[in-house]
């Protein structure tokens, strides 16, 4: 009796320790953003929202924020059809060079981001689109696509392949069957993948660093740049905005992929 009790105590202690360790940076940043003072410190000095107010006045950050949003949306919008079709294709159809193709699609993942970033910078420079914003979105889509493919693959593999035959048997031509049966079936994976892609793009730093300049700088890069000058609590406030967005994404995920419950019949 006491044995199990002390065991569960140890387990709980470990869980709490981990939780605190994981959330400590977040807690410190959130705390620091509410300071009344002029330097980043924890515990904060007093409580105020003045840095948040100031944030709104900082046009640089604001512009960078909207650019990041734009880039992330492009990345997500491109990854949804690309990742979904790739995942379904790889899982369902006997494709020539299937393994090579799989490896090829996972390639962005195995190459260090620095290398990808540099490569893309050179390539974009060559075809004269470096300095524009949309190619950044495409690049982020490319380097993160394996996540999308994995998310959708999980759904495709969980889907009864017989369903497509059932749709055909009900009189649905292939495209119609795909749209009415296969696609709704993999929707949880698509939603998960899309939110993941959005968050990853929203947070991406290294590749964006290569591909952006002063006019197209995204939020993570912009934060990095200002750290190099002077660290003020408005940075903490920006970080909190980040955390809030990530949090919203997780909530959305939970709410939308709660759909998954409906999609599981067995």
């Amino acid at each position: 009796m006491t044995g199990t009790r002390s065991k569960s105590f140890v387990l709980w202690a470990i869980v709490w320790f981990d939780l605190i360790l994981l959330s400590l940076p977040t807690i410190i940043i959130i705390g620091a953003s509410f300071t009344t003072g002029d330097i980043v410190q924890f515990p904060p000095e007093g409580f105020s929202l003045k840095w948040y107010g100031k944030l709104w006045l900082l046009d640089d950050f604001k512009a960078a924020f909207f650019r990041t949003l734009y880039v992330s949306l492009i990345c997500t919008a491109v990854s949804i059809p690309a990742g979904t079709l790739a995942a379904i294709g790889l899982a369902r159809y006997r494709i020539h060079f299937q393994t090579s193709l799989q490896v090829y699609l996972l390639l962005p993942f195995t190459i260090p981001l620095v290398v990808s970033g540099l490569g893309m910078m050179i390539f974009f420079g060559d075809i004269r689109i470096l300095g524009q914003l949309w190619p950044v979105g495409i690049s982020l889509c490319i380097i993160n696509l394996p996540f999308m493919i994995w998310a959708v693959s999980a759904s495709v593999n969980g889907l009864d392949y017989q369903l497509e035959n059932a749709a055909a048997n009900c009189g649905a031509p292939p495209l119609q069957g795909f749209l009415t049966v296969t696609l709704p079936g993999v929707m949880p994976g698509v939603i998960t993948g899309a939110l993941l892609m959005f968050i990853l793009a929203f947070n991406e730093f290294l590749v964006s660093l290569f591909l952006t300049d002063a006019r197209t700088v995204t939020l993570p890069v912009s934060i990095y740049n200002s750290i190099r000058s002077v660290i003020t609590p408005d940075l903490a406030a920006v970080s909190v905005v980040y955390i809030v967005i990530a949090f919203i994404a997780v909530l959305l995920l939970d709410k939308l992929v709660g759909l998954e419950l409906f999609l599981k019949s067995k």
Binding site: N165, A166, T180, G185
Partner: protein
């Protein structure tokens, strides 16, 4: 007037996967309105046969005709065939009603007729009121009935059932067999049913095809299939059958005498045998009589002494497994269908077994 062509006709249909022959030269035809059951052990090619008829797979050689027309070039969604899949394959993101609606929409039924048809078929499978349930909110038997309604709702020429009952428990399965028989008689749709449950085959069908290793072994109505199995495989696959191996010592008309271990048995031969040929005899458990040791059964042709080695009570009947020293190690199975009024034989009791010549079917050794 000419006879109308059979609804389904298979002519020398074979299917190979690589070098493996899943269906070997299948030939049969099915008249409109009848129920055909394909019966066979796991892996014998039943599903493959159905998939070819439904159009998901094309035969390696041979031809399938539906309504007299070859269907080689007709894709599955243009065939008027409703199928209930082995695992049902209901659309999980739709309600029961939407599942039944789906084929009607895809086959472009007039939109104003659809709700009524859906109600009608849900009624036929006794699911009225369950229309808005999600699939996972239905019991196994109810899901099964949704699948039947979905396959029937567009009034297909042909209904294919791929062991849809196999996942259900025995009681529900037997209920569904009768239920299905009722639905089939009400609608009169031509049906091919696949199963490896011999009881289901006998209950549900007008005609039964027995398959083994991709090849059709026999095709007959249930009664003749049971009474006159055309080969050893069919005889042993249907019913509880005891098998004895021996060598022919004498033949006379349809009666054949053959030597088993240290005794001679008399059996009914389906074909001609030579003296000295190896044969197998098959006797069904319900055709063997079992008596206490002292009695001498009269008018029975084969009489053997034995010892009860196993006694299994199945409620409505008692199954005895009896070892007869004169047959060597081969056991004989016996049913007693009225165990409450008969003498019970316990394990280890000496008994006398007997049966008629005509019930012991003799086949050449495989």
């Amino acid at each position: 007037m000419e006879n109308s062509p059979p609804l389904v006709e298979l002519i020398d249909v074979s299917k190979r996967f690589g070098r493996f022959i899943a269906v070997d030269n299948a030939n049969f035809s099915l008249a409109k309105g009848s129920v055909l059951t394909i019966l066979g052990p796991s892996g014998c090619g039943k599903t493959t046969l159905l998939r070819m008829i439904a159009g998901f797979e094309s035969p390696t050689s041979g031809e399938i005709r539906i309504n007299g027309e070859p269907v080689q070039a007709v894709p599955p969604y243009r065939r008027s065939i409703g199928m209930v899949f082995q695992n049902l394959a209901l659309f999980p993101h739709m309600t029961a009603g939407e599942n039944v609606t789906y084929p009607l929409k895809m086959r472009r039924f007039p939109p104003q007729d659809i709700p009524e048809l859906v109600e009608r078929y849900l009624g036929i499978v006794r699911l009225t009121g369950m229309k808005d349930r999600r699939i996972h909110e239905l019991s196994g038997g109810q899901q099964q009935r949704v699948a039947i309604a979905r396959a029937l709702s567009f009034n297909p020429d042909l209904l294919l059932l791929d062991e849809p009952l196999s996942a259900l428990d025995k009681k529900l399965r037997e209920e569904m067999q009768l239920e299905f028989r009722r639905i089939q008689q009400k609608i009169g749709v031509t049906t091919i049913n696949v199963t490896h449950d011999q009881r289901e085959a006998l209950v549900m069908s007008d005609e039964i095809i027995v398959m083994a290793d991709g090849a059709i072994q026999q095709s007959a109505d249930p009664v003749s299939l049971y009474r006159h199995p055309s080969n050893m495989f069919v005889a042993s696959f249907i019913g509880l059958t005891s098998l004895v191996k021996g060598t022919v010592v004498q033949t006379e008309g349809t009666t054949v005498e053959f030597n088993v271990d240290s005794t001679i048995l008399c059996g009914n031969a389906g074909s001609r045998f030579e003296v000295g040929q190896s044969v197998e005899g098959a006797i069904r458990a319900e055709q063997v009589r079992i008596h206490p040791e002292q009695t001498r059964p009269e008018e029975m042709d084969n009489v053997l002494e034995g010892v009860v080695s196993e006694q299994i009570f199945e409620g409505d009947r008692m199954v005895y497994q009896v070892q007869c020293p004169s047959l060597g190690s081969t056991p004989i199975f016996v049913f007693d269908h009225d165990p409450t009024h008969h003498v019970l034989h316990r394990k280890g009791d000496s008994v006398v077994l007997s049966w008629n010549v005509r019930d012991l079917l003799v086949y050449p050794c495989r």
